[in-house]
């Protein structure tokens, strides 16, 4: 559904939600927090990219990937390799036995740069790789799995195994990847020092900007016919297939989209945090990314951003004061989100805050009288509980008696 004009969209309800998020991220948080905390928020925001991807992939299309950390990590490593090469000039590494290669390679007795590091001297190649490498891997996995109609739980397990493989590989190949420490000691981006407070604040705003870009891409996809097909696929895959759509192609597309988002997030993570290590890629990290999305509401892209922010803020808060309580809280969060409110914060907002809002809006008929600007195209924004339960309700007749189910 097209908004009739940008101005009208901004005063519509959906537009106001986006404005509220923008206000929070651009105005309130930078004013309220010191640069150190703001940098932490920037780190949380990079996870929001993954969460948005998961909303598209898992919430809408029903493909649960437990390997999003892989794509996050690939994006992050691509960026880290570029930064590391920039930091390892022959002058800066003159004390090494082979100057001009990253320090960990020297420690591991490598005497020349491995071939796959070479292209990362170029910044434009790096930017391409940050999106391209995760998408390529996602495409290969998707092509292999979805055309064979592997889905659901099997897909989740295999993506999890891929996360395990990549982590073991990175840790094992210390000389090429930096091993368990990851790629550390990153200093400048094209000569611009990324460690200063000013740079960190700038990077935070870059994160916010990219986040909104991704949000709009996701919103664009979900509001087109494409997005509807994704949702339909989740509910009744065979009906979509028999309506003549190539289900596998749509699944591959949305999986690649999620991978690209995760890759961007990973690259920004490297910039914001200043290093990249395998601990952000593995099984545990990957499954935590799912909870960001689930807490925010698996059907709501805006919810995913709040979910990522809240879970990560809670995580650092807990780990600072009660480290032993955090796993309990995290576990309870997983169980609670799944059992009690499967639509997450967005669902709660929907059922409790929206009625209040409704009453509030009634008093201002000016805004209410714009049905065209209502976010009709986002079904979850209007009646998420109904839509979601309908899609997920267990119907034994369909499950067991559909003749096409092989």
């Amino acid at each position: 559904m097209k908004s009739s004009s940008p101005m009208k969209w901004f005063t519509s309800r959906e537009g106001l939600y986006y404005l509220a998020l923008a206000g929070l991220l651009v105005v309130i948080l930078p004013l309220a927090l010191d640069p150190f905390r703001l940098n932490m928020v920037g780190k949380y925001l990079t996870y929001a990219f993954v969460a948005i991807g998961l909303v598209m992939c898992w919430g809408k299309a029903g493909i649960l990937s437990l390997g999003q950390g892989v794509f996050f990590g690939l994006g992050g490593y691509c960026m880290a390799m570029f930064l590391k090469l920039e930091a390892s000039t022959p002058e800066a590494t003159a004390i090494q036995s082979t100057p001009g290669i990253p320090d960990f390679m020297d420690w591991n007795q490598l005497t020349e740069l491995p071939w796959f590091w070479e292209p990362f001297h170029s910044f434009s190649f790096t930017l391409l790789a940050v999106i391209g490498v995760p998408m390529l891997l996602a495409f290969i996995i998707g092509l292999a799995m979805f055309t064979r109609r592997v889905g659901g739980v099997y897909f989740a397990i295999i993506t999890q195994a891929i996360a395990a493989i990549l982590t073991i590989l990175i840790i094992g190949q210390q000389g090429y990847t930096g091993g368990v420490n990851g790629i550390t000691d990153l200093q400048t981006l094209m000569g611009w020092d990324i460690r200063s407070d000013a740079a960190k604040t700038t990077l935070y705003f870059v994160c916010v900007g990219m986040l909104f870009l991704c949000l709009f891409v996701a919103r664009f996809v979900q509001n087109r016919k494409l997005g509807r097909i994704l949702v339909a696929m989740n509910a009744q895959e065979n009906r979509v297939r028999f309506s003549g759509y190539d289900v596998a192609a749509f699944k591959i597309f949305v999986f690649c989209l999620a991978a690209a988002f995760a890759g961007i997030g990973g690259a920004l993570f490297t910039l914001v945090v200043g290093f990249m290590s395998p601990s952000f890629i593995g099984i545990v990290a990957s499954i935590e990314m799912v909870i960001f999305c689930a807490l925010g509401g698996r059907l709501s892209i805006l919810g995913a951003v709040y979910g990522a922010l809240l879970v990560n803020a809670a995580k650092s808060g807990f780990s600072e004061s009660f480290p032993e309580l955090w796993p309990f809280a995290m576990g309870a969060l997983f169980i609670g989100v799944v059992l009690a409110f499967p639509n997450g914060l967005a669902g709660l907002y929907q059922s409790y805050v929206m009625p209040l809002e409704e009453r509030l809006f009634k008093r201002k008929p000016k805004i209410e009288a714009e049905p065209a600007a209502e976010p009709e195209a986002t079904p979850e924004a209007r009646k998420p509980a109904v839509a979601a339960t309908e899609a997920r309700d267990y119907d034994p007749m369909i499950e067991h008696y559909s003749p096409e189910k092989s």
Partner: protein
Amino acid sequence: MFDGYTSSELMSIFAMQGFAGLSLFSVFVLMALGLAIIFGQMGVINMAHGEFMILGAYTTYLTSGFFQSYLPGLFGGYFFVAIVLAFLICAALGALIEWLMIRHLYHRPLDTLLATWGLSLIMQQAYRSIFGAREVGVELPEWMMGAFQVTDMVELPINGLFVMIIALSIAVGVYLLMYRSGYGKNVRAVVQNRPMAEAVGINSAGIDRATFALGCGIAGIAGAAFTMIGSTGPSSGQAYIVDTFLVVVFGGAQSLIGTIVSAFGISQAQSTMEFFLSGSMAKVLTLLVVVGILMLRPEGLMALKVRR
């Protein structure tokens, strides 16, 4: 990678690594049996399976401590008590979890995955708070120490052999239960066609609960056996969970024989390659091959042929 070895050397390397892989095989079989029952029967992914196993291991640890302090004369036999206790405790907890959590989620298999992951985090942290983060080990009874000398190069530790015997006897037990008992017939009926099974009067909810409890109980036995060959820490279970899932999926989710064959294949491949490559590369290669085969043949090695 075989350069520089003569064929007779290669043979003994394979034999040696093969025996070394058998203890990994036993752990895989024990864990995968419980998982395969739960996954095959209900389509539920129990991410907390490793933690149930560790619960069994801690039960064994406590039992051995109890026997040491109060019944030192019977110490040689504590393990058999521990196995029974581990089974009962894990099965009881499993039934409770099924009642509290899993039964609400049967139509959302992906959500069970997340919920049981949450459960596993809670259980791990509970172990850490109760038993400490340090790994604990049990004292083996005397008859379990030592080794059989098979040939000059190959010797078999008795505890490893014992664990393998447990693994195989439980596999046989599960086979008998599933294919030669009334309960097993009901389970298979529910797996193949739930509404029809309900129509002929099988209590499918009861079957689900019993099966989940059984799977968790077997995990408990696996944990008891695990203490014989390794020490137990709060997160020991998590280390195996992904491998075990691959074992189950690779074998074909509803086939017991397939599970055992794939456990054997994966453990042997990994153990043999470890000799020639580094441990991590061996694991990477094994997992890659398994994932690759699964992409080509998603139903696993031995798929149950049913019409749906």
